[in-house]
């Protein structure tokens, strides 16, 4: 009896040990260090000095080498990064940042408030070739209170200024005596982020290695290899040879070309919400588009879901306003109008646009109502969108012509000079929603970004108010109202926000998709030892 009990007990123990051996590792109990992630970019980085980095490749690398004072969390809310906390004082005129005390540069030098001051001074130095000075010119003074406290005083309350402190901070002790425009630092940077710079072979690859002293924790993945492969077909071939681990896909690749047993075995695909949107903008100085009913009618006449289904194979979202669809600024109450050509014709008739001579095309004041959509060369997606709009508007009797123009001519001769009727273009959607430069009536001069010349006093007032208050609830109300007005006024026909589609090799564990994407917790990604593919210096 006792013996039996004993055996039972033993076998129970054995079982639980077995269970422990077999199941626990799959519960991410022991994350392994090592391996590499190989990503590809069509263009090489240009400059790894963060305040001079203007291209997306440089920005991506700088993001792993450097940190800012603040960052966005997985739900697109602003949180501290190098700053432990901050206070907004004096009705928003003053921001005081309290910095982390446990941060060191890759060369071991401690990070302090002096580095923040130095970065600010370089940003506003007219001799430094930085394009990012705009947000920092709103600052009246920056004061170092002690080694770990910085006081920033603005000329007037400027809420987007807070997010602008996501600007990576540069090391004063290294760059103090250098001319940033020609410094060797641009190809040999020293940061304080999760990865350290290792090598850069022009047009070939950039390699980073994990920073064992990163203040959050050491990243599990040891090497970050950024390969430059300019040809899209080669990128896809490399993916098929498992030579790349993390690659963006086109809708066609996502839906069809990666729908094979090989891909299902070796890769996971993610469909993430988009960070840009495509629109049709009307030149509001043109009498054809000054009647709001005409713009609303055009909105009813075009089926946006059809565009998403045909051009993006369904991998996009119909949007109604100029904000990130998953962020707090986006007004979910504003619903897209249905596709309704009848309603469109009715609105046009009210606005005096109807068929008066029986030829099937609509006229206004006896002249045929027709206009030209311009878009830039080299973007097949936009051309297809333009053609669908052309077809749908022809259905209700509006003649549309399409003109495709080379990019630099497009910018300098058409956009900057306001020399267009309607333009098909996109904006990227920053995480900080302030879009003053695009919608405020003071930004309509040549070379400025309100090139459709939209002027609405209420929107102007709301944009200014949203800039002045740090109260998130108030800002939310402002942007929600702007969203509502702009959708009702239709200066743009809002079309869609394309999803970002990516393939990731399935040996990577710890990936958790969130509204902001999947790379936000990159330092938590890891690869089990037995699946690792690349050599590392680690034993």
């Amino acid at each position: 009896m006792i013996k039996k009990f004993f055996i039972k007990k033993i076998s129970f123990w054995l079982l639980s040990v077995a269970a422990f051996l077999f199941f626990v590792p799959t519960l991410d109990f022991a994350q392994d260090y090592g391996d590499a992630i190989v990503v590809a970019s069509i263009a090489d980085a240009r400059n790894l000095i963060p305040i001079l980095a203007s291209d997306s490749a440089s920005a991506e690398i700088c993001g792993l080498l450097f940190n800012g004072l603040v960052k966005f969390d997985k739900d697109i809310n602003l949180i501290g990064d190098l700053a432990e906390s901050w206070e907004v004082r004096g009705d928003g005129l003053v921001i005081v940042f309290h910095l982390r005390k446990d941060v060191f540069w890759h060369d071991g030098h401690p990070f302090t408030a002096r580095d923040v001051e130095f970065t600010y001074q370089k940003l506003i130095d007219p001799k430094v070739k930085t394009p990012y000075s705009g947000d920092f010119e709103q600052i009246r003074s920056l004061e170092v209170i002690d080694e770990y406290t910085v006081k920033v005083v603005y000329k007037e309350p400027f809420a987007p200024g807070l997010a602008s402190w996501g600007m990576p901070i540069m090391p004063r002790h290294i760059l103090e005596k250098e001319d940033l425009n020609t410094s060797r630092f641009s190809r040999n940077p020293i940061g304080l982020g999760p990865y350290r710079f290792k090598t850069w072979k022009s047009q070939e690859k950039i390699e980073l290695v994990a920073n064992p002293n990163y203040f959050e924790k050491k990243p599990y993945i040891e090497r970050y290899i950024y390969r430059i492969i300019p040809d899209e077909s080669t990128v896809f071939l490399e993916l098929q040879a498992q030579g790349l681990d993390f690659v963006g896909l086109t809708p066609l690749q996502y839906k069809r070309q990666t729908d094979t047993p090989f891909f299902r075995k070796h890769f996971r695909k993610y469909r993430l919400s988009g960070t840009s949107f495509t629109y049709l903008g009307y030149n509001l100085n043109n009498p054809k588009f000054q009647d709001v009913r005409i713009r609303q009618a055009l909105n009813y006449a075009v089926d946006k879901q059809e565009i998403v289904d045909m051009v993006l194979l369904g991998y996009g979202r119909v949007i109604t306003g100029p904000y990130l669809a998953d962020s707090w600024a986006y007004n979910k109450e504003v619903k897209p109008v249905p596709y309704d050509p009848k309603k469109a014709k009715e609105l046009l008739r009210q606005a005096g646009v109807f068929n008066s001579n029986g030829d099937g095309w609509l006229e206004k004041d006896g002249k045929r109502f027709s206009f030209t959509i311009i878009t830039n060369q080299g973007n097949e997606e936009r051309l297809k969108v333009a053609q669908i709009i052309q077809r749908r508007l022809a259905d209700i009797g509006i003649e549309v012509k399409i003109k495709v123009v080379e990019w630099s001519v497009f910018l300098t001769e058409y956009i900057d000079k306001r020399n267009f009727e309607a333009v098909l273009l996109g904006w990227s959607l920053p995480r900080e929603p302030d879009n003053f430069d695009i919608w405020h009536s003071s930004k309509t001069d040549e070379g400025e970004f309100n090139f459709i010349s939209y002027k609405n006093p209420e929107v102007d007032r709301l944009l200014e108010e949203a800039r002045r208050t740090f109260d998130l609830e108030k800002r939310r109300q402002c942007y929600h109202r702007i969203h509502e007005i702009i959708y009702q006024q239709q200066p743009y026909m809002f079309l869609y926000s394309p999803d970002s589609l990516v393939a990731l090799h399935n040996r990577f564990k710890g990936v958790e998709p969130a509204p902001i994407g999947i790379t936000y917790n990159f330092i938590n990604w890891w690869v089990p030892k037995r699946l690792q593919r690349y050599a590392t210096i680690q034993p």
Binding site: A43, T182, S233, A241, G243, W407
Partner: protein, 321 residues
């Protein structure tokens, strides 16, 4: 000697016209870099242009550039602020290496192929190579490259797809490193040589045929010379003359590189550097290329002329003539 002096105004003309053409192309470098970025205002763009010296009148910009060039200063790239000389030098070895390797391959294959085809013109070998060569000549090189990649790298899994070294290169031993580079360069060299082989071997065949039909061939044979001597000493030497011109003209091509397969094979060569510079209106890099290519073209012609003297004793440059 006189010819060498004649090259100076030619060089000035080439650079002045190129400078003007680049400047007249719409789109300014700074604007293209920060296009439609709401965070970059017009004032900032003007300020950046001023820092680059792009606000000066055209002729001043050209003269500034020229005076720098005469001191072998190619200036800085507008894209990343690095010296143009450095950017070119770091890519020169790989482009030069691939082009030389493919040139050697072309000569080694194309000349015997052309000669053999010409000797038995209309025969089975001639007809067979004609068909194959025309197919290869007509096939676009990027498409051929992709097919070869699909075959060798994915289906057979023999060769790496792109780049010039493996990602674990630094952990390899020396022989492994050499093999690794050779494996990476095999397809690019092959593909870049194919076009040249098809063209050159046809030239060679045509030239050879022409020479073989000359009366002196009959004379040679009549003198009882062995066939080998007739073909390789008398016929080949004459037939190869136009090939020397072609090789001379291909000298600038050695540095040109090709955007297409440098992109497909992800090779960091000069072709891509200059292509991207043209897209960015990165004037200093573009002009550096113009200088390089024009000097090489002039040099190539010059060398071809000189080579003629040695290959063909009838040609003599006489300063009195």
């Amino acid at each position: 000697m006189r010819r060498i002096f004649g090259l100076v105004p030619l060089f000035l003309g080439i650079t002045a016209i190129s400078f003007l053409v680049v400047k007249l192309t719409p789109g300014k470098p700074v604007i293209l870099q920060y296009a439609l970025n709401p965070k970059v205002s017009l004032e900032q763009i003007r300020r950046l242009e001023k820092l680059e010296g792009l606000d000066q009148p055209l002729h001043i910009q050209y003269l500034n550039w020229l005076s720098n060039i005469l001191r072998f200063n190619f200036g800085y790239s507008l894209a990343d602020g690095r010296p143009v000389k450095e950017k070119i030098l770091e890519r020169l070895p790989i482009t030069l290496g691939i082009n030389l390797a493919s040139l050697v391959l072309i000569i080694l294959i194309a000349i015997p192929l052309g000669v053999k085809a010409a000797l038995k013109a209309g025969g089975l070998f001639d007809n067979f190579t004609t068909v194959i060569l025309f197919i290869l000549f007509a096939a676009p090189s990027f498409w051929l490259a992709l097919l070869l990649m699909q075959l060798f790298c994915i289906q057979l899994n023999l060769l790496p797809i792109s780049g010039i070294t493996s990602l674990d290169f630094e952990y390899f031993t020396l022989p492994q490193k050499i093999i690794d580079i050779l494996r990476h360069l095999f397809l690019p060299v092959l593909v870049s040589a194919l076009g040249g082989i098809t063209g050159l071997s046809r030239y060679m065949r045509a030239n050879m045929l022409e020479v073989l039909n000359q009366p002196y061939m009959l004379a040679c044979r009549a003198r009882g010379l062995p066939e080998r001597v007739v073909i390789y000493k008398h016929a080949l030497r004459n037939a190869i003359l136009p090939i020397v011109t072609i090789l001379g003209l291909s000298l600038p091509g050695l540095l040109g590189g090709s955007v297409i397969f440098e992109s497909i094979f992800a090779i960091p060569g000069l072709g891509r550097l200059f292509f991207e510079a043209a897209m960015m209106r990165d004037i200093n890099v573009i002009m550096a290329e113009v200088v390089l290519v024009s000097i090489l073209t002039m040099l190539g012609n010059f060398l071809a002329d000189i080579a003629y003297i040695y290959v063909d004793p009838r040609i003599r440059f006489n300063s009195k003539a």
